[in-house]
Each structure stands twice: as C-alpha cells, then as structure tokens.
Amino acid sequence: MNETLHLTLKVWRQKDGHSKGHFETYKADNIDSHASFLEMLDVVNDRLAIQGIEPIAFDHDCREGICGACGAVINGRAHGPMSRTTLCQLHMRNFNNNDTIVIEPFRAKALPVVKDLVVDRSGFDRILSKGGFVSVRTGGTPDANATPIAKTKADLAMDAAQCIGCAACVAACPNAAAMLFVSAKVSHLALLPQGEVEKKERVTNMVAQMDQEGFGNCSNEYLCEAACPKGISITNIARMNRQYLASSVIPA
C-alpha cells in the first residue's frame, strides 16, 4: 500500500570543486512511499526551484540500475541501505515516516566533488584507456564460433563484466581503493581466450595508472563487495593480484 512520508533531509551542498561544502537541512513532506529515492529528490528539487533555491545536483541517467551514473552516501552507506541496489533503484518504502536522511557525495581523493552530490570519476576512464580492452581492430576477426569457450569460464567473465563503474566500491573502502573496479575488468578479459593474450601488459599498465590517479591500496576490508550494486566478487581482486605478481616476476 502506499503511504505518505514526512522526512528531513541533511544534504551536502557544495557550489563547485573549489568551494567548501556544508550540510543543508530540507523538509521533504508528503513523499509517496512508492517513489524512488531519486524521484523523492526530484520532488524536493521542484519545490526548491519554485522558491528560487538552486536544486540539489546529482548524476543520474538510466534510472534502471545499469548506467552507473547515480550514487551517493545515504546515512553512511554507498547507495543506501539495500544490498545490491543502486540509488535509483532504492525506493522510499524502505524508509519510515519522520526519518532523517543524511545524503553526501561519494568521498575519495581520487573522486573530487564537482558540485553537491556530483563527483569526478574520470580516473576510471583513464585507467581503462591503459589496458581495459583487447587490441583488435574493426574487421578481419575470425568467426564468432571459431574458439569455443567453456560455459563456466564465460559465465565467470560475465559475472565480472557486469560492473557498472559507479565507484561505490571506492566510496565504501576506508583506503579509497579502486581494486574491485580494476580487478573486475582485468578478470573479465583475462578469463577469455581473446583477452588472455595481453593479460600481463594489461594488469601492469592498469595498476600503474590506478596508483597514479591516487586510489588507495586494498587491505581486505570486504566493504567494496558489500557496497557493490552488481555483486562483483572480491575473488576478482585475488585473481588480479596473482596476475600482477606473475607479470612483475616474469617480464611481459
């Protein structure tokens, strides 16, 4: 059944990357419990706009949990209280009437705030440009069925390939590490015969860029896995570490 919620929001407001930010308190009255979290923010934003107050900026696009654009820290948890759920798929029926909700951007040195809840995740693109691909050109590729791939392997690769690049793993990690993200791509490609050829250069170059971007190191806290809306497994990190070690011992 739908219910009407009256909420208090404490929202991080920050004009731009150079300004200091602060929390603002807003009332969010008469929110339908069937609304999604972002729809709740839309309603609040529309009310702010009518009062001439600038709406809260947040990234979003698909609102289906697949593009990876949305994300914020809700009451201390990246993407909020529901496991395996992006912020756009979180619905207000998971909150209670009169709740106070604290909403902050993902925080990490390598994810600087652009405005309010919007952060700069371009470091992820730069890491992938160093090796998150198979070096094939368009055209001249063999028939798709020329190389059989065991279903179990293909499924494992798909598990890793599901990463949406939202950066919740970084936000959840006390060291602001990007190991879950990087290892998901390294694993996806290394598990397939097409990607295996370049696996040594790939892991070396991607890890080097990850360090350069200022992401931290993994100390096995497992918080990334818990925050990941797509259930990317931490075993990918172990797989990446093994490859990294192997490629630094035996030069590529």
């Binding site: 839309d42 697949i66 990876g68 440009s129 691909f133 094939v136 069925n145 279903k151 293909a154 690769a157």
Partner: protein, 637 residues
C-alpha cells in the same frame, strides 16, 4: 531541393559490395590530416569513433554523460540479431532482410535493410573478438534465443544486459584509441549548435556542462549519433538525458527530419503510479511467453485479482488473436491494452494497467522453472512496485520506447547537409514504421563499425575541403546564437518548473499522438503545442547561472527543443492518413480493427524541411520501391 537516396544500381544482394568498390578512398598518409567530429558515444557513436581512429583519422568524440560508457545503449536488455544461422533453423541474410522489411510494415528502404542483414554477422564476430561475454551453451559455442516477429532463433544475448556488454565492448575499442591519442574524448559536453560554412557541416558549438563555457570545435566532417527522441513524451523507457537537441539543431540548419511520427510503444512496462514518476521501466518482452494478459470482463470491477473467478476474466489477446495469443507484435499488444482501459476495464489504482498473470505457468511448469526463466525480472519488478509476481499478477501498461523516425540520410548515411552524417537511432534509415526486437543494437553497430568507415572516406575524398578553424565568423555567430538563447532562458524567472512544462507536453503527445491517432486529436495538439511553447518562454523558471554546472538549465534547453520538435512530429502524423507499424490512424483500419496501410498513396518516406518556428514545415517525398518483396497486409489472427 530533391532527395537523392544514392542507392546503387544492380541486384539487391550485390549493391553494397559493388558500392564499396566504387567508393573513393583516402590515402593512408592523408587520413591524419582530417578531423572528424563524432557526437555521441552509444553503440553507434563509440563504434564509429573507434573505427575511424583505427583508420588514422583524427577523432573528437563528445557525450553529455560523465563518461562514454553511460550512453543510453547501456540499458538495452534483450539481445542483438544476426543471420549466423548457428541453430541450423533456416536463417539467412535474405530471411533477416525479409523479416526486418515486413516488421517495418514495408516503409523502409530495401537496399539499406539488405546491407544491415549482410553485415550483421560481422558484428557478432567483432564483439566476440573484443571479449563481449555472450551467453554460451555447454559445448562452448554461442547460444541464441528467439524474439518477436521472427520464426528463427537469431538473437545473441548476454544475460539480460546485452546492451551493456555491447556498449562496454565498443567503449573498450574507443578507450584503446583514446589511450593512443587518436581519439580526443569530451565528456560532460552538450552539443548546442551545428556550424555550417558555405552550406557544409564544419563544426559544432558545445556547452561544457561543468564550467558552463561555450566551446567551438571545427572538423572536416560531422557525425551525429545522438539517439532517439522518445523523451518528447516525458515518460518513456529511455534514460532521463535522451533528447532531440542535437538532431533538432541540425534540422533547423537544413537537415530534413524523416518520418517523425513513427514511434514505438512497448507493451510491457511498469505502469504509471504517481505524478512524481520520472520514467517507465521496461519489463522484458520475453515475459509474454509465459504470462497471460487479462482484465476483468466488467467495467469498474474493483475486486482483487485473486478473487475474480475465471468466468469474469477477459484474456483479450487470446480471445481476439487465437493463433498468436499473448505473443502478437508490440503494436497490437499495446493498442489492445489501451482499448480495454479506455473501456473502463483497466486495473490498478489509476485504471491504466492490465494484468500479466503467471499463475497458470507456475502451476504447469513449477515455481523453479519460472524462477529460472524470469527470476531477475520478477526481482526487479518487486523492487520497483513492492509486489511479488509469484503471488499477484504483474501489472503492465504500454510506454514510449523507441523512435524509428530521425534525420533523413542517404545510402551513405549523409543527411541533406553535406558533410553531416547521422548514425544509430538518430537517423531514420532501417526500421520503416516499426522496429523488430533486437534490431536497434544491430543497426547502431552496423552503422558505426561497418558503414561509416567506408562512406565518410568517400565524402572526404570526393571534394576539396578548405581548411578552416574556429576563428571563422560562422563559429562566432553560432556561439552568439547559443549564448543568447541561454541568457533568455535564465532571465524569464517565471513560476512553473521545466519538468512541469515537459510533463504537460508529454501528456498531450501521449493522448493525441500516442497509440491511436485521429485527425481531430492531432489538430487539437497542433493548436496546443504552440500555446505551451509560448507559455514556456514567458513563465518557466530556471535557477542558477550560466557559468556553472546547472542541470535545470540543461533540461530547460532540451525541453525548449522538444516544444519545437513536437509540432513536426504531430504534423507528420496528421499528414499520414494511413495506419502503418507504430503509427495507427483510427480512420484507417480494417473491419476487424487492424492497421490498414494505403500503399497507393503513402508508400514513401516523408522528409520535412524546416521553415521557421511555428511555420508549417515543407514535405519532401522519397518514394519507396520494392523489388525483392511483395507488399502484403500483416495478419496475426
């Protein structure tokens, strides 16, 4: 101006091969002297940018998201078609061609569709080579599934995330070129204007969405791969940022808009449940394989579904279409849902929904089988609605999903503006009046990987392209136009929000130019659209300023363009007095209430020329001729 489709002569199946041979080539050493602007990083844009950079061109690639990987293509679920015939069930290039032409209700070009079918197999090879993890069988080979409108299994898929995996494949190819420096990437940039020099597309004006600054970029050719315009209807299955701005700006500079009234409405979406709603989520069409669609027989029956006995239920699709039942094509399923709701038999709190009931299948196949087939979808449905489809029937309703219309392009994918090429959902080229499932992904990648790399070279090699840069006065003029429009939006300081206007326009289009269209309703819409637009320019409120990240301003610009575009959309629907594919004119139906095409009068592409805001656009016709197929009326009884 006359439309020249540049379709090569010769037998249908040789046209593309011959044409490729006849296209001019750019000398490898000269390619790096050319700069190509690609707007869009979806399947079409990313594949084009990567492929052109591999050839040696200098590529500038733009998108409005924070990274190319988030383009709307990421959300496609079902799959991608190809004529591989791996299941040995009788598929072929010719059959894929035929199904696509028929599915498009005989309103697409034969030559384009044949080329699409020809390159479909290369796409699958390309994706596998990139490491796209398609679903596989236990023997290690690729798995296929079947999809609406086809009797063979030709759809390749990666769980329920095919679009994601294909886009990440194209994105990886793109990032490989970014790493090499051959593509320069410009995320969080929105194209505001196309720049013409001497009538030729030579650049774009973009707004940097972080700093708010306007930036100019010059190139030797411009490619738009900016997606479809479903969001004109406010609520749709598309991502929130999808827009018509880039295409509309090009249209205003001389690119014809073809068949804008061909829109696709998907029958199985989660219904609207409140005015706060921002989008409609697609539930995969595959659900209709095991779900039965019904509504109560009696108007206003408010009993819970479980307490409505069999005798009081109307399984209307099974009743009306005994041979296809719940699996009729998208347009029929959608239209019939509307009819029963219009009769007052709709369900749910708004009366705008029908049941999709799995109870019988659960009884017949068991909980476990249904869980395996649809577990993910049921979970997603429950997450959104809070209701469990194992216990209660799902509620579904049709929603705007895809737009077959788009900028007119010739066989080389060039628009009526020399140098401006259009790819993917943004062009009109391959789907006629209705698109079959799993064919949009195929078209986007065909255009980007296998068509444009040839045809753009031909364009560049065919005429001298004078050197210019952004100091040319045309850039200054276009920048000024853009900044004037932005200042105007910010200065209105009215009383209604951008979304409020967008919602009003969307509801009008949905009512008058949605699933069923009438002369009277369309006339009414043509009166109302200019009124909404006028009020928008007097009473919208856009907070914040120009020189910063300002999402309200971004939306305001897009809605302003939808408000102009909507008129040509409705004008097209009004002029096309026949029903075909996704365009159902209630005046043109068979005695059984099915869509009635009028091939004698309307067998053409309708391409509209811009004449000014609020001025009637001018229609140009490109006749469609069919040599390989004979036109027939669809029947699914």
């Amino acid at each position: 101006m006359s439309l020249n489709s540049n379709i090569p002569s010769g037998p249908l199946s040789d046209k593309w091969t011959e044409h490729k041979f006849n296209l001019k080539l750019v000398n490898p050493a000269n390619k790096r002297k050319f700069t190509i602007i690609v707007v869009g990083t979806g399947l079409a844009g990313a594949s084009a940018a990567a492929s052109l950079a591999e050839l040696g061109y200098n590529v500038l690639n733009f998108c409005f998201q924070d990274t190319p990987r988030r383009a709307h293509s990421i959300a496609a679920q079902g799959g991608i078609n190809a004529a591989k015939n791996y299941p040995n069930d009788g598929d072929s290039v010719h059959r894929l061609f035929y199904d696509t032409i028929k599915g498009g209700d005989f309103r697409a070009r034969e030559a384009n569709v044949h080329r699409l079918a020809e390159v479909s197999n290369n796409i699958i090879d390309q994706c596998v080579a990139q490491g796209v993890p398609f679903a596989r069988e236990y023997g290690g080979l690729l798995d296929n599934r079947s999809f609406g409108g086809a009797q063979v299994s030709r759809t390749f898929y990666a769980r329920g995330q095919t679009g994601q995996q294909l886009l990440l494949g194209a994105y990886s190819a793109l990032m490989k070129e970014v790493g090499k420096g051959s593509v320069k990437l410009f995320p969080r940039r929105e194209m505001m204007e196309l720049v013409l020099v001497d009538g030729v597309a030579r650049g774009i004006i973009i707004r940097n969405l972080v700093t708010g600054q306007l930036e100019s970029y010059a190139g030797d050719a411009v490619i738009l791969a900016t997606g479809g315009y479903s969001n004109a209807y406010f609520l749709s299955t598309n991502a929130m940022g999808c827009n018509v701005t880039a295409a509309w700006r090009a249209h205003k500079k001389g690119a014809f808009f073809a068949n804008p009234c061909y829109t696709q409405i998907h029958p199985t979406c989660i219904p609207v449940h409140g005015d706060y709603q921002s989008k409609l989520t697609l539930m995969s069409e595959s659900l209709r394989n095991d779900g039965r669609v019904w509504v109560p027989k009696q108007k206003g029956d408010k009993r819970s579904p479980a307490s409505i006995p069999e005798a009081d239920r109307d399984y209307y699709l099974e009743r009306k279409y005994p041979s296809f039942g719940n699996l009729v094509p998208r347009d029929l399923a959608s239209r019939n849902a509307k009819t029963v709701c219009d009769e007052g038999r709709g369900v749910g709190s708004t009366g705008l929904a029908v049941y999709l009931d799995f109870a019988d299948s659960i009884k017949r196949l068991g909980h476990k089988v249904i869980q395996e087939r649809y577990g993910n979808l049921f979970e997603m449905y429950e997450r959104i609605t809070g209701s469990d489809p194992f216990k209660e029937p799902m509620m579904i309703y049709p929603a705007l999903h895809y737009t077959m219309g788009g900028l007119w392009v010739d066989y080389n994918l060039m628009s009526t503006i020399p140098g401006l090429h259009v790819l993917g959902e943004a062009n009109f080229s391959d789907h006629g009046a209705n698109r079959l499932g799993a064919s949009a992904l195929m078209q986007g990648l065909a255009d980007g990987y296998f068509v444009i790399p040839y045809t753009v070279g031909h364009y560049l090699a065919s005429q001298p392209i004078p050197k210019i840069d952004t100091s040319h006065p045309a850039f200054k003029a276009a920048e000024l136009e853009t900044s004037t429009r932005i200042s105007q939006l910010l200065s209105i300081k009215g009383k209604r929000t951008v979304d409020d206007f967008h919602r009003e326009l969307g509801m009008l289009l949905w009512d008058k130019c949605g699933m069923g269209r009438t002369e009277e309703g369309l006339q009414e819409a043509l009166v109302k659209i200019p009124q909404i637009r006028e009020e928008f320019w007097q009473n919208v409120t856009v907070t914040g300023s120009e020189g910063e990240l300002n999402q309200t301003l971004e939306r305001a610009g897009r809605v302003a363009d939808f408000l102009e575009f909507a008129e040509v959309l409705v004008t097209d629907a009004l002029h096309r007095k026949e029903s075909c594919g996704g365009h159902f004119r209630e005046e043109s139906q068979t005695p059984e209430g099915e869509a009635l095409r009028q091939d004698d009068t309307f067998c053409y592409v309708g391409a509209w020329e811009f004449k000014g805001v609020g001025q009637a656009p001018v229609l140009h016709k490109e006749p469609l001729t069919f040599e390989a197929v004979s036109l027939s009326q669809r029947s699914y009884k």
